[in-house]
Amino acid sequence: MRILDEKAELELEHDVLESKMESKEEKKKRFVCVVCPMGCAIDTKYADKDGEVKIKEVSGAECSRGKVYAELEVTKPVRTLTTTMRVIGGKKKLVPVKTSKPVPKNKIFACMEEINRSRVQAPVYVGQVLIKNIQNSGADVIATYEVEAWN
């Protein structure tokens, strides 16, 4: 849960994801920290030259973990993807899956597409690797539940 002062709320409503352009070199981005319930608003300044991101300033974080979080969010935002995959010949239609490690945020939809195209033959076991190195992210797609086969 998060509480925002009105100004911050407005700011967030208007540009949630887009970074503000100060000049061509320096960009600004504000984050709400998710590390702990404090929910610090962290401001970052960074330079982005053809995808090569360099942190210039991080402010507003009340602890060092928040700073690390914001830096990672700017330079290389990653998420663990969880979704489902179709099962053939199973007692259930779907098996829940996850990526074995976080994948880059900008590859999430490509990963979804690949997983939704794939099918797995039952039985499926917990931890079974269903797709190796999905979208060259270095992460595997693994089953998080079991699905028994029909007979």
Binding site: T83, T84, T144
Partner: protein, 489 residues
């Protein structure tokens, strides 16, 4: 074969099975309670589960974020459930799936054993006879009816949890343009899930000026995907005859009343409701167990025992938790104490039987003889003066769990509570009065705990630990009521 031994045909034709401990519900609470009861040495345990599989809601909660506190690693819902289910397979705990409990009767007096009336396709209507009952029925979602949103009644209005089941278990997408009302965690998680599966989530709207979900979910489910999030807004009308075509939203004032003139029409084909959970306590109420109207669950003591001796409760049936890890911990306490109570009961019965045998041998009829009825009376007397410390919620605190402490309380006790609004840099204070002077101002009683908290908000359950030494003080001071309240700067 085992079943045959246990089964007795009663005169009225109902099948009857005997168990020591019956756990109602096979979700995280039921799993935790039965496993810990088993580990504590409990025997003849049965789980009665209404659904077709164990795990409750967990198998459909495919996202991660479970187990950080309990296992120290981040798991998905199915993985979390799997750990307990596979552990259960190595025990002799019996599981009855597709079995609905219709009624429990656990009278305070007159009957040591408790009866559970159940129904399933195999046994028909049947009875379970148990010494201990653990209630672990969980909760259910508030629906449109609870909100009384005006407008037509088209298809396309779903609760978030039901949608989660359609998408993650059944494999259906319930709509293409989704509007989410309420910023509860399930609603936020479904906003992300539906977006990933190709639907467009047009907006998430929350009546309160703050989010009811975890911070992490706001960021990773809503902001990551650029989904508009509106606070202090609610849906005032649903449009569409056969299918939802849109909703009217409205800004609300401080009293949460819609402000005239602020109406806005939003086009969508599905309205998702994530507007709170209600503990499922029909069985509890019918059994005459005392309910706390603030939590919607049974009043429990530090052992998770309800107002009826031998009936325990744990998990979301007691109060709605935000983290399954806390449900597991609470259930383990319930299971362990249930097993302990069972031993005491068996021990008492054995003593009684021993006495009878002794009497036969000595032909001495009038000494040390306790009949069943007398013993019952004694149990109830013990009961009456047992739960004698009341925990009450004062300023800024909505409720506490447990709501009672017994006079035999020992060791550290963790008390969970929720605050009524957002508090920053304030204190949680616990003071005690001796029941007689109830008119004493908060803070004027003997203060036992005063802890600084940087931030407390209604969406996150708080807890305060009453240390062993504090408990000893409370007991020796003869406190009748412990008051929990928030002290602001």
């Amino acid at each position: 074969m085992n079943e045959k031994r246990k089964m007795n045909e009663k005169k009225d034709g109902l099948r009857r099975y005997e168990y020591e401990i019956a756990v109602i519900g096979g979700g995280p609470a039921g799993l935790g309670a039965s496993l810990s009861a088993w580990k504590a040495g409990g025997k003849k345990i049965v789980i009665l589960e209404r659904g077709a599989e164990l795990g409750g809601i967990l198998p459909q909660c495919i996202h991660s974020g479970f187990g950080l506190h309990y296992f120290g690693e981040e798991l998905t819902g199915p993985e979390y459930a799997y750990r307990f289910i596979s552990e259960l397979k190595n025990t002799e705990v019996e599981v009855k799936l597709d079995t609905m409990v219709l009624e429990i009767s656990a009278e305070i007096s007159g009957d040591m054993r408790k009866r559970i009336l159940c129904v399933n396709a195999k046994d028909g209507i049947f009875e379970i006879d148990a010494r201990i009952i653990i209630l672990a029925m969980g909760c259910r979602e508030r629906t449109r009816g609870a909100l009384q949103i005006p407008g037509s009644r088209p298809a396309g209005v779903y609760t978030a949890g039901a949608t989660q089941r359609y998408v993650n278990i059944e494999g259906y997408l319930p709509g293409k343009k989704i509007f989410v009302l309420g910023s509860g965690d399930i609603g936020l998680i479904m906003a992300r899930r539906l977006t990933l599966e190709g639907a467009k989530v047009v907006m998430v709207c929350e009546i309160m000026p703050y989010s009811c979900g975890l911070n992490r979910n706001i960021v990773q489910c809503v902001e990551d995907f650029g989904i508009p999030l509106r606070f202090s807004h609610t849906v005032t009308k649903v449009h569409g005859r056969e299918r939802v075509e849109g909703v009217t939203i409205c800004r609300v004032d401080e009293k949460l009343k819609p402000i005239k003139g602020s109406e806005e029409y939003i086009e969508c084909d599905t309205l998702l409701l994530s507007v709170g959970l209600i503990p499922e306590n029909e069985l509890t109420r019918n059994a005459g167990i005392m309910i706390d109207e603030r939590t919607g669950g049974p009043v429990v003591n530090e052992n998770m025992e309800t107002s009826i001796k031998g009936v325990y409760a744990c998990g979301n049936v007691v109060h709605v938790h935000d983290l399954v890890d806390n449900v597991t911990k609470e259930s383990e306490r319930a299971g362990m104490n249930a097993a302990k109570a069972l031993f005491e009961k068996v021990e008492r019965e054995r003593e009684r039987i021993g006495n009878v045998e002794y009497r036969k041998d000595n032909k001495d009829k009038d000494k040390n003889v306790e009949y069943e009825g007398d013993r019952e009376g004694k149990d109830n007397e013990e009961k009456e003066d047992e739960n004698n410390i009341r925990l009450s919620a004062g300023k800024g605190v909505r409720y506490t769990v447990p709501q009672r402490l017994t006079n035999r309380v020992k060791g550290d006790v963790e008390v969970f509570f929720r605050v009524t609004e957002v508090f920053r840099d304030s204190k949680i204070v616990v003071d005690g009065v001796d029941g007689v002077d109830e008119g004493v101002d908060e803070g004027k009683g003997e203060v036992y705990v005063s802890q600084k908290r940087r931030v407390m908000n209604p969406g996150e359950m708080q807890s305060v630990v009453l240390k062993k030494e504090v408990i000893e003080d409370i007991l020796s001071d003869g406190v009748g009521e412990l008051r929990f309240f928030i002290e602001c700067k």
